[in-house]
Symmetry: C2
Subunit: 317 residues, 2 copies
C-alpha cells in the first residue's frame, strides 16, 4: 500500500500519521514535543515513531516520503528558523538531520502552508487554483495558493498575514511586536483580548466579568453568544469586522476564489463566518464583488494537520 | 526575423512596437486613443498599425504574436472590463474582436503585469523568481511574480495594491472611492495631494504656495527638493514613510526578493527611494531583514510599456 507520512510539529504536541491517496489517516499517534528538548533525541523518537506506524499497518507499506508541517519552516532550506514556541533555538537543519536517519523523500513547510495543500488535495479546495487558507489558532497563519501552486516566497516565509499592520499604530501589539498586527485581534487569543477590551469599554452585564483572562476559552465565548451574552455578541461582531475588512484587502494581492477559515476560532461557526462575510462584502472593490467566497475546511473529518503535512508528499506524486 | 508586437493601450495614447528577443523595440509608433471612440475603428487602426510596422522592418518578419497591456484587462477572458479611463464602457471583448482581424497568438493583461513580465525577461528582474513591480503614475499599479510565474488571480484582477486601505478610514479617498487607499498617497497624483496637505498643515515658506494643484508637476517637486524647499522635502519623507511601511506589509504576502519602483514618481530618484528604503527597513519583520531590495527599472533605455506588452508573447516561446 502506498502511504505518505505526515508530521505536525507543534509547541506542545507532535502528531504523526500515515496517509493514503484520499487523505485518510490510516494510523496515527502523538507524543509531547517538550519531552525532547534535545534535537537529536526528538528526531530519533520521530523516526522510531514512523517505523512503528508502518509496522502497525497490516499489509506491506510503500512509504512514499515524509511531509512535515512546522512553525517558521523554510521549504527551500529544509530548516526551522527561530521558532518562538519550540525548544530548539536558532536555525534547526531539520531535513539534513532527518536524511541521516531515513532514506525517503523529505519535505517541510510551515503549518499554514501544509493546511492549504491538504485543503487542495483532500478538502474543500479541490479543483481550485487560487485560494487562501487562514488558520485561526493561538495566532493567525496563512497559506496562499496561486494558479495551483503554493506561494512560498524568496526563502519560504511568504504568507504571514498575522503580522499585517491593518490597525492603527497605537493598536494592540501582536506576538512578534507588530503594533496593530492582525493576529492580535483575529485569532483565538485575539478574541479573548477583545472580550477584555469590551468589558473595559461597555457596562453590559456579562458572564465574562467573573472570568479571568487565563481561564477563558473559545468554546465558552460561542456558548455565551448563543445565550445572548451582549459582550460575546459584540466580540464576534468586532472580530468579524476586522477580519472581513482584512480579507477584502488581501483580495487585492492574489484575487483568491475563496478564503478558508480553519482552526480554533473558525470552530465558532456562524458567529465568526457571518460578520466576516458581511464586512468583507462591504469592503470588496466592485470588480471582485460576488466572486470571493468564505468557506470552512473540508478536513474536519480527517486529521487535518497530519493529512496536510502528508499532502506535501502526495502533491509531488 | 522573429519579432513580437507589443501594444500599450492608455487613456491618452496607444503605443505600439515590434520587439526582438532582447526586449529591444526595433520600430514603434503611437496614436491618440481618444480619436477612436468607436471600438471597431480603434481595432482596425491598431491592426493596420501593426501591419505598417511590419512593413517598416527592412527584412522579412516572422510575427510571433501580439501582447497587449491595458487597464482593467482580464488575461483569462481576454477582455477590458469597466476601465474608468477609456471610452469603451462595460466589458470589451478585446481578443475575440482582434482574432477576427488577424491570425497570430494574442494575449492581454493589465499594464502593471506587463511591466513585471518586461522586467523579468528584459530588465533588472532577470533571474529572479519572486518580485513585485510597483508602477507609480496617475495611480499605483502592481505586478506580482511568484516562483517565476505571474500572479493573475481567479479571473485576472490580482495585484491591485493601489486600493489597499493602509491608512485610516478618515484618510484620503482614492480613484475607486476607497477611504485611506494607498494610491491616494503614493503615486504622482498622491505626491501632489501631499504638497497641498503640507501647505495646509505647516507655515514654511515654499514655492508651492504660488502654484495651483492643476499646474503642479512631479519634476518640479524633485527640483524644489534639490533646492531645499521645505515642503518638497517633507512631501518626499511623508510619501516614503507610507510606501515603506506598505512594502514591509506586502512582504508578508509573497516574500519578494525585490520591489521595483517604476513610472512617474519613481523618476524622482533618491528623493523617493531613500525614505522608502528607510521606513521599509524599520517595519520589516526580523525574518525578512536584509533580504528585500528596492530597485529601479532596467527598462529605462528600452520602451518599457511596449517591451513589457511584447514580453507576454516572448515569455511563451
Amino acid at each position: 500500500m502506498d502511504l505518505a507520512a505526515g508530521i505536525d510539529i507543534g509547541g506542545t504536541k507532535t502528531k504523526l500519521g500515515l496517509v493514503n491517496q484520499s487523505g485518510e489517516c490510516v494510523v496515527d499517534m502523538n507524543f509531547r514535543t517538550k519531552e525532547y528538548p534535545d534535537l537529536d533525541e526528538f528526531l530519533d523518537k520521530t523516526i522510531a515513531s514512523v517505523h512503528s506506524l508502518v509496522a502497525q499497518v497490516g499489509s506491506p507499506v510503500n512509504l512514499l516520503g515524509i511531509g512535515i508541517g512546522a512553525p517558521n519552516a523554510s521549504n527551500t532550506r529544509g530548516t526551522i528558523e527561530y521558532a518562538p514556541n519550540l525548544y530548539w533555538k536558532g536555525i534547526v537543519p531539520l531535513l539534513e538531520k532527518l536524511n541521516q536517519r531515513i532514506d525517503v523523500p523529505l519535505k517541510v513547510t510551515n503549518d499554514a502552508n501544509a493546511a492549504a495543500l491538504g485543503e487542495m488535495l483532500f478538502g474543500n479546495a479541490k479543483g481550485m487554483k487560487d485560494f487562501i487558507v487562514i488558520t485561526l489558532g493561538t495566532g493567525l497563519g496563512s497559506g496562499i495558493v496561486s494558479n495551483g501552486s503554493m506561494v512560498y516566497g524568496y526563502d519560504g516565509f511568504a504568507g504571514e498575514f498575522g503580522h499585517f499592520a491593518m490597525l492603527p499604530e497605537d493598536g494592540r501589539v501582536d506576538g512578534l511586536g507588530v503594533k496593530g498586527g492582525l493576529e492580535a485581534y483575529v485569532s483565538a487569543t485575539g478574541l479573548k483580548r477583545t472580550i477584555m477590551y469590551l468589558i473595559s469599554k461597555h457596562t453590559d452585564d456579562s458572564r465574562f466579568r467573573s472570568i479571568a483572562f487565563n481561564d477563558l476559552h473559545g468554546e465558552e465565548i460561542t456558548e455565551a453568544a448563543e445565550q445572548g451574552d451582549p459582550i460575546a455578541l459584540k466580540a464576534f461582531e468586532y472580530t468579524g469586522q476586522i477580519l472581513g475588512k482584512a480579507l477584502a484587502n488581501f483580495t487585492l494581492f492574489s484575487q483568491p476564489e475563496a478564503f478558508f477559515l480553519v482552526g480554533g476560532l473558525a470552530n465558532c461557526g456562524k458567529w465568526i463566518f457571518e460578520p466576516t462575510q458581511k464586512y468583507m462584502d462591504q469592503h470588496l472593490l466592485e470588480m471582485y464583488q460576488g466572486k470571493v467566497k468564505i468557506l470552512s475546511s473540508g478536513m474536519a473529518e480527517k486529521n487535518a494537520a497530519i493529512s496536510g503535512a502528508a499532502a506535501l508528499i502526495w502533491s509531488a506524486q
